[in-house]
Symmetry: C2
Subunit: 475 residues, 2 copies
């Protein structure tokens, strides 16, 4: 990964310079990175991006060229000397990549000097926001496909190269089985697939010539795009001709792809034509502006599609193109001790949770199914031999008591005193983690429309602290 | 720019290998890159990305590491030798970056061996799609702001680092006056701006302390964020206190920023409070999920905002997150001569225009205002001493005759025989080009809602060719 130290908002630098001049730049602070809303009215978000985050933090340092530029836009020598010496020496805690998280829960927690913690805000948000968004979108699309393989196809419509690359990675960890992006395949070991485009068919004198040429190069992997001219009248009949020729030579044809038209109808006709011709096991791949809603609807309509190629709507998360992650100050050192900090707002959703916090997930006795989460102060403990009662943070009379349960703390250290302590995982491991996380959620949380809302409560101690601070601000 | 040679769809490689094995890989072909629809129901699209495209083409070559990976996923030695030797040696024509273009017009035209032309499809689409989208979105937002400065603020919500960087560049060429993205500022010389966040205010014991500290570091550029606790009751009064202190020291305070709440109401109250306090020339910057529709509505409501900070909705183009650019085969060599090619579809919008083409823009006599465009075959000429009659490509009885007019051909060579011949332009030059292009469009084409549709017709010769090919395919 290239050096992205300069990929920050200008105001981070102007604040850093201001902190330096106010003599508070070395004060320790705590920032929480969290989101306020699940995308897509989903009930959860799959958090991704930890690997990129680590590449970014590891690479943090300013080049002479960077400093020269910053001098040219008016930063003074004293400040630039501090940037020249910049190394990240703080603590970062975060959830394991691929963990399912919910609104208001810290997914990354930074404890560092305010000079350091402020610089990294922008890049952390950029990384976590996008990758979590795409992983979550992919999970929804795979949920709609009900176990059918979903191919990620979106590179050409991605918002730039990185979006194509990190998007392919996020889509794979979210459940897709492959990507069309060769570079992402190389970088992460994601399976890459793809056959041919309309241009292949146009290049040859006839569609049949084109299919024969393709079959000759790919006798064992012959998947033909049948909609260049007319799907039913020429594409499928020509494909069947070539499949028969392949079969005579002892090869098993793979199937067809349909990229336009009424996919529900065409797939049913295609299935019947292929079955009647003696190819009942061939694949029918569909790819045409698909998303979870269209796939869901095609399933309901009985479309005979076996594999789904999803492009634009996945790679751009078109109906919800940004996860609104934020990075908010939760505590700051005053005379050496961390003091909780709060941001007040007329909008109750926007009032932050103060203090150094952790997130505890409550499981059923078996440890298999997640029941609820608790946001707590970091120094709190729970005695699991006692019943545990939690309460809704707004409708506080709504309580729930767990008698037999187990707990898991979700935040783990990524960096301690600037040293990387997180064991880096392969994309395959992260993908498996997502699978486990999804398996630990009841189906009611996973349905696409109006899912059950997962309980995320505050500990009594945190709730009291927050309310006391809100009241103090009122005065 | 890093080497993105591997950033292609897998099917490009599988087709390239197939072309090689079919012995047609050196056949010359023509591909058009175009879009079928303007984004946002806008009447035009500002085409951007040429600089990235040139970086990409210049960098095209496969490393040993790339070839090793491709061997591992099954590509054979003969094919890999061809990739090892890969250099782009074809022609690429395109419009000058920042040109306003319309649906179905080739914005890039590639003439190269099919082996080469196929490889570059994905990257070209990725680059042009995103950058054109954001430049166009920025132009709409600036149109809504009616000349007020618009700041690009979106890096933290961009779809990865590249989206933040290229998005900032595209937003600037589309009309924004600055970006918050320091890296984009460094790379392209875009003005960078930014002041402070809520965290700055939280870090100090009181808001007033925080404002004083900020004013002490930035006495000449003191713009204060006033909504951390309560905009009207504490933020603005504290800002006024600090502004008075600054004024006593001989400094001119810059203004305030409002990032939440009812911006229309708050900006009016803020204006009155600042005016009453003797600061009528201070800025009121608004930034809170803005887009062209919200800005338009705030203008209608009489909001007293002087500067607009736009983030998420600009950098992700949230309501239309992908320009659906495509890359379609228009001609292919058969026995040495280029033969026009067509892609048929039930959907008339999806039928391609065959042949090697160019785009001619018809201006009024003064050469200032664009009147209509003609997509023509490349070898056609127009005698401007004669009247010019064009006709609608569907409703062919709709004609228009120009008697006094001037012409401009929009496609210019970027590469000839693999050699770069395009004179590279600075971002500032591209931005100026966008301004000129916008000035050459009547306001009716630029309004945000239901703009007039700009005429794009086919030449008689191209229209005849297309219809003859469509009829031939019917048989």
């Amino acid at each position: 990964m290239r050096n992205l130290s300069m990929m920050t908002d200008y105001y981070q630098l102007s604040m850093m310079k201001g902190y330096l001049e106010s003599g508070v730049h070395e004060d320790e602070v705590v920032f929480d990175l969290f989101f306020r809303k699940n995308p897509f009215h989903n009930s959860f978000t799959i958090v991704a991006g930890m690997e990129s985050l680590i590449d970014y933090i590891n690479g943090l340092s300013f080049t002479e060229d960077d400093l020269k530029y910053l001098a040219s836009v008016g930063f003074d020598k004293v400040f630039l000397e501090h940037l020249r010496a910049f190394r990240f020496t703080g603590d970062i805690w975060g959830v394991a990549e691929g963990t399912i998280m919910f609104p208001h829960e810290p997914v990354i927690r930074v404890k560092a000097s305010i000079f350091q913690a402020q610089l990294i805000e922008t890049a952390l948000l950029n990384i976590i926001n996008f990758q979590s968004l795409i992983a979550t979108k992919a999970a929804r699309i795979c949920e709609a496909a009900q176990g059918d393989p979903v191919f990620e196809f979106g590179l050409r419509r991605a918002q730039g190269p990185d979006a194509g690359i990190y998007g392919a990675r996020a889509a794979y960890i979210g459940g897709c089985v492959s990507t069309s992006n060769v570079l992402a395949g190389k970088l992460y070991g994601i399976p890459v697939v793809g056959t041919h485009a309309h241009s292949w068919v146009q290049k040859f004198e006839t569609e049949l010539d084109a299919f024969r040429a393709y079959a000759s190069s790919y006798p064992e992997n012959c998947l033909l795009l049948v909609d260049t001219f007319n799907t039913i009248e020429s594409g499928i009949p020509n494909a069947i001709t070539v499949f028969r020729e392949l079969q005579e030579k002892g090869f098993k044809p793979k199937g067809i792809r349909i990229d336009s038209g009424d996919i529900a109808y065409l797939s049913k006709v295609a299935r019947r034509m292929l079955d009647d011709a003696g190819f009942p096991n061939t694949a029918i791949v569909a790819s045409s502006d698909l998303d979870e809603d269209t796939i869901d609807s095609l399933k309901v309509q009985g479309a005979m599609i076996t594999h789904w190629g999803v492009g634009t709507n996945l790679i751009t998360s078109s109906n919800w193109p940004a996860l609104g992650g934020v990075y908010k100050l939760a505590a700051a050192a005053e005379s050496g001790a961390l003091v909780p900090k709060i941001k007040i707002s007329d909008n109750p959703e926007k009032i932050t949770n103060p203090g150094l916090k952790k997130v505890t997930r409550i499981y059923d006795e078996s440890g298999l199914f997640a029941l609820a989460d608790l946001i707590m102060l970091a120094d709190e403990t729970i005695d699991t031999s006692e019943p545990l009662t939690i309460f809704h943070p707004i409708y506080t009379w709504k309580t729930k008591t767990f008698r037999r349960y187990s707990l898991r703390e979700l935040l783990e250290p990524l960096y301690l005193n600037g040293k990387l302590v997180y064991e880096r995982r392969t994309v395959q491991e992260v993908r498996a983690n997502v699978r486990r996380e999804l398996d630990g959620l009841w189906p009611e949380y996973k349905r696409l429309q109006r899912p059950q809302i997962y309980k995320v409560d505050l500990s009594k101690k945190l709730w009291d602290l927050k309310h006391q601070m809100m009241l103090a601000h009122k005065e």
